[in-house]
Amino acid sequence: MKIAVCVKEVPDAGPSRRIDPTTLRMDRSGDRSLNVYDLNAVEEGIRLRDAAGEGEVVLVSLGASRALESLRKGLAMGADRAVLVSDEAAVGSDLVATSHVLAEALKAESPDVVLFGQQASDGDGAVLWAAVADRLRMPVISQISELTVEGGTATAKRQTEFGYDTIAAPLPVVLAVADSLNEPRYPSLKGIMGAKKKPQETKSLADIGVDPGAAGEAGSRTTVVALSDPPSRGDTIKVEDDGSGAQKIFDFLVERKLI
């Protein structure tokens, strides 16, 4: 079974995330790592491959050339190789452009299963897989909390606003997994050492047959008009627990007359 896992390098979580006020793009200067939600997709890909007893797990990504470093975490976990589409002309791609580039990169791989994490921790979109599935003309199931792939069919349980749905679809299929589906493994030392030696290809837009006008800002259909700070909730008090954490919460609640 050939499994492609779409992954993304994102700025590290935390209050340090910022937007460049001149370009209105994410400030990409800080620490960066693999989107945590993608780890569940990588984990599931490895499990599916191992259960099938054959096949490979290919990481597919669109990003800056240095994103290979973040992708290596997936290789260290056990993915077999990585394909990174990296091109100046793809910088600033929105959903439409990103789904186009990824779909073309995926077509070159002809996977049986395309996996996504539940969302990117920077954009919080949770829509990309549906766009990619439409371009690949494959069925799609999202928000998966239980999954079996057997006899050419994927069967998945997912939560909606009303409870749980179980959906089945034949391969090839696009699957987006919830972070509750599995517990991503930590890469072993051997895995980390071996990751650098695994095949890691960087492709340009030309390599995958994408017209530069259909990627990046030229291929995007949404714009950012203005940015502002969110209304503050007032001063957040943040303390480290040095043994007095419970007392501090208690005092705070008493002061606010909540207990």
């Binding site: 209050p15 439409d134 939560q159 909730r233 627990d241 207990i259």
Partner: protein, 319 residues
């Protein structure tokens, strides 16, 4: 200039969120219609006109009985092409997100999501959203038509007006690949037990509890404080706690006087369910957890140390 609003229905009733988006759209654009796709939805369609739809387009077919996205993409894409709608809006939900994503690819149309407000109309339409886990507010627009937008749940109230719209049937044709996914089973939880929406104090447990047994210490704290226990999706999906206690986009929206989150990361879909809590206290061992960004008091530490001690202090005070 014309706007189309997707109406999501559950059984015979149209989701309030969709009617809210329809009301708002009709306010911004006089030429607003709606589309309803399902099986046996005629009656529901007739009601939607009262929320501002000039025409309610209905694709009523057995094939749409299950709430699956891809056949709906086919119907909406054709409708948009035929009628020339330049804006298509959705109330965000699991189903609507999958439809909007697919439609964006099909129509090569820009999609802005998590919109909490809309201003202007036509080319001047601007959406308000948050980004980077709600640490930045952004005004977003579209550089071409059709413009697609997913509106954050609960952003607009459904407002009835007098005019009744007309109902028009539309073709129910679907593409081959769109009908490959099939519903096997729907397990829809009936809500039983005490409702977390009524509690003044909510103690919410996330995956940081490590195991279902972890909820024991939260139940003790909640009972000492006279509150209820709530949960996150990750916990519910894992079968650690009942669905009826889930706070968030696909769970319940709560606004207690006090929300205490223990081992909850504060993902945006959880936040939308509890951000209107009056006071937010959080305990998380990861100092970078997003929940600290919207807490009144955040304690960086292990909940297994902190929660039992807090329970003791509360019990002592209450005697």
């Amino acid at each position: 200039m014309s706007t189309l609003v997707f109406l999501e229905h559950h059984g015979d009733s149209i989701q309030k969120g969709s009617l809210g988006v329809l009301s708002k759209a009709a306010q911004l654009d006089a030429d607003t219609s709606a589309v309803l796709i399902g099986s046996g939805v005629g009656e529901a369609a007739a009601k939607a006109g009262a929320y501002g739809a000039a025409t309610v387009y209905v694709a009523d077919n057995e094939a749409f009985a299950a709430p699956l996205p891809q056949p709906r993409v086919d119907v909406i894409a054709r409708l948009v092409a035929d009628k020339g709608f330049d804006t298509v809006l959705f109330a965000a939900s699991v189903l609507a997100s999958d439809i909007a994503g697919g439609l964006s690819a099909r129509l090569d149309a820009g999609l802005n999501w998590d919109l909490s407000d809309l201003e202007g109309s036509g080319d001047a339409l601007v959406g308000k959203r948050s980004a980077l886990g709600d640490t930045v507010r952004a005004d977003v627009g579209w550089s071409s038509t059709p413009r697609l937008g997913l509106v954050r749940a609960g952003s607009f109230d459904a407002v009835e007006n007098a005019a009744a719209g007309t109902v028009e049937q539309i073709p129910a044709d679907t593409e081959d690949f769109s009908t490959k996914a099939a519903m096997v089973e729907q397990a829809h939880a009936e809500s039983s037990g005490p409702s977390i929406e009524d509690a003044d104090i909510l103690v919410t447990g996330g995956r940081g509890l490590g195991a279902p047994e972890g909820f024991g210490i939260l139940e003790e704290l909640a009972s000492a404080m006279g509150g209820a226990v709530a949960s996150t999706r990750a916990v519910v999906d894992s079968g650690w706690y009942p669905y009826a206690t889930q706070v968030g986009q696909t769970g319940k929206v709560v606004s207690p006087k006090l929300y205490i989150g223990a081992g909850v990361s504060g993902a945006i879909q959880h936040k939308v369910g509890m951000q209107t809590s009056q006071v937010i206290v959080s305990i998380n061992k990861d100092g970078n957890a997003p929940i600290f960004e919207f807490s009144d008091l955040g304690v960086v530490g292990d909940l297994n140390d902190i929660v039992p001690k807090l329970t003791e202090l509360v019990k002592e005070r209450r005697g």
